[in-house]
Amino acid sequence: MSEQAVQLNRVSKKFGSVVAVNDVSLSIADGEFFSLLGPSGCGKTTTLRLIAGFELPTRGEVYIGQDLQGETPPYRRPVNTVFQNYALFPHMTISRNVGFGLEMRKLPRDEIQRRVSEALDMVQLPGMGERKPSQLSGGQQQRVALARALVNQPKVLLLDEPLGALDLKLRKAMQLELKALQHRIGITFVYVTHDQEEALTMSDRIAVMNGGRVLQIGTPEEIYERPANRFVADFIGETNFLEGQVTAGRPGEATVQVEDSLTIPVSADKAVGKRDVVTVAIRPEKISLHAEPPDDRAVAGVIEEVIYTGTDTRYLVRIGEQTIVTVRQQNVGVGEGASFLKGASIYLHWRLQSARLLTA
């Protein structure tokens, strides 16, 4: 990680009595693909708007590069935005749209022309310059919005759910394309999305937000494998949550009593005391099913339901009296059906570090 592109220093934003962004600090490195991920209303878009300058922080500092932004208006910030609804100027041609920023910066006409056509080539829309935005499809408008921002060679590109209005197939294709483009031109991307899969696919690092706060910042793998708390574990992917009391704990390993006759082994990063009430998180794909107990840590259960979902088969397994956990197994073979049938008595097994202790 070289220089920083964006830094937020204990930034808060209030709208009346509503706190949209609450004491957020983060540092985004130069050339990084950084995502702000969270449910709607979590403050991710407001955070983006604070960087763009459309909102000014109630408290805290926003730096772009080394420069404190203060009350700098959006038109003096070295960032450009791709808006959620694209916000293309309907009364201008595609060329005029893309060249708008260069025109405002009073660049010579022939240079504007050259850079506009380069930008349109880059987003694979050559020769579309004379059309009006209304004559383009949603996916094409999206590309124009991207070209209009990138043609200015900003220090940081801000993207506010840019793929939100596209259908799934196009969305998936654009995700990869955007990622490749970012890699090629090396501009810092700050990407707002509520789609956890999108964030995992594209980002170098992700900040998970909820209720105006940043809950965790990390690489996709860190966020998925080592969620900091229950919200993150729940929001990213699918998770089994089991609540119970610690009955035995030593560094690295603990035992949690979920029900009277059900105790499970878990890993513990930090020391936990006996009798502590905790939540255990286990991803469905980290659990394996066995006919015979593979070791003395296996947990016995009965299959309640078998659900075929194409790539995977999902088993709902009852362990103890009333605890149900979801187990996911990839369908590796062809036409072999489920490995286990409904009603079968089986054993669940997971690696110790797959069962994570969450405190909140």
Partner: protein, 275 residues
């Protein structure tokens, strides 16, 4: 029993339907027949409206040669032109202020803005006359223009606000994101996009100004006779075919302006690029 009931009801409905159709036609005839008669008789070769004596354009020719009428037309155009220009600028500014900003007394201001549209012309006319007397302004073209501006601002503001209500604010943010300051944003993005609304409002103001009688009558002075006032004084001496011709012409112009205004308000979704 049941079938008979249904049949009887159907017969009754068709009877009611026919009556409604006749009623509708009569209503339209009542509204438009006088206008048709007016236009038809502007081409009548006879000086009297009692009989049709063949087609002629003489009345249009003699109308165009009438010096007093020409000066009335000139006055009307001066009043309509300048009051439209002034009220369009101010009306647009009012609309922008009302749509974009929150300020103290906004609700009261909003209600006051609609007042000139609602209150009777005669009340407004008397009010303005009293104001001009108190302000010791000589009645003439200037006072007529001021009066027309007073009611036209409201109409322009209402039309422009309707356009602004659908304005996508992210377009202005996009412009500012692309290095356009507040002024450049306004001239390059906001104004072109609300231009259809502004032109629609201006055309409406122009139309209202051209055929205003009551307010103009009260606020005019010697030498500032406008077309409606001139027609009124001519009619007092008896309706001549020239007046028919004149009225037909005004009808045509008003209708064309209103149509254009409606067309601009409805269409022009893309906005109009100025630069």
């Amino acid at each position: 029993m049941k079938t008979i009931g249904v049949r009887r009801e159907r017969r009754k409905t068709s009877w009611v339907g026919r009556l409604l159709t006749v009623h509708g036609i009569a209503g339209y005839l009542f509204l438009y027949l006088p206008i048709v008669v007016l236009v038809v008789f502007s081409f009548n070769a006879s000086r009297y409206a009692s009989a049709w004596r063949g087609f002629t354009l003489d009345w249009y020719v003699s109308m165009l040669q009438d010096q007093a009428l020409a000066s009335a037309v000139k006055n009307t155009l001066i009043v309509a032109g300048s009051s439209t220009l002034i009220s369009t600028v101010f009306g647009t500014m009012v609309a922008l202020a009302m749509e974009r900003y929150r300020f103290r007394g906004k609700l009261a201001f909003d209600a006051l803005l609609y007042l000139p549209i609602i209150i009777p012309d005669i009340a407004m006319a008397v009010m303005l006359l009293l104001f001009f007397i108190l302000a010791r302004l000589r009645l003439g073209l200037v006072t007529i223009i001021i009066s027309h501006v007073a009611f036209n601002i409201s109409f322009v503001a209402v039309v422009v606000r309707a356009r602004l209500a659908y304005f996508d604010m992210s377009l202005e943010e996009a412009a500012q994101d692309l290095y356009a300051d507040e002024w450049q944003t306004f001239w390059r993005v906001t104004l072109p996009l609300i231009m259809p609304g502004i032109l629609g409002g201006a055309l409406m103001a122009f139309t209202l100004s051209i055929d205003d009688f009551v307010i103009t009558f009260f606020t005019s002075g010697p030498g500032s006779t406008t077309l409606p006032l001139r027609i009124y004084s001519l009619v007092k001496l008896g309706v001549t075919p020239e007046i028919n011709a004149l009225s037909s012409l005004m009808l045509l112009i008003s209708m064309a302006l209103v149509m254009l205004s409606l067309l601009l308000q409805k269409g022009g979704g893309g906005g109009i690029e100025i630069v």
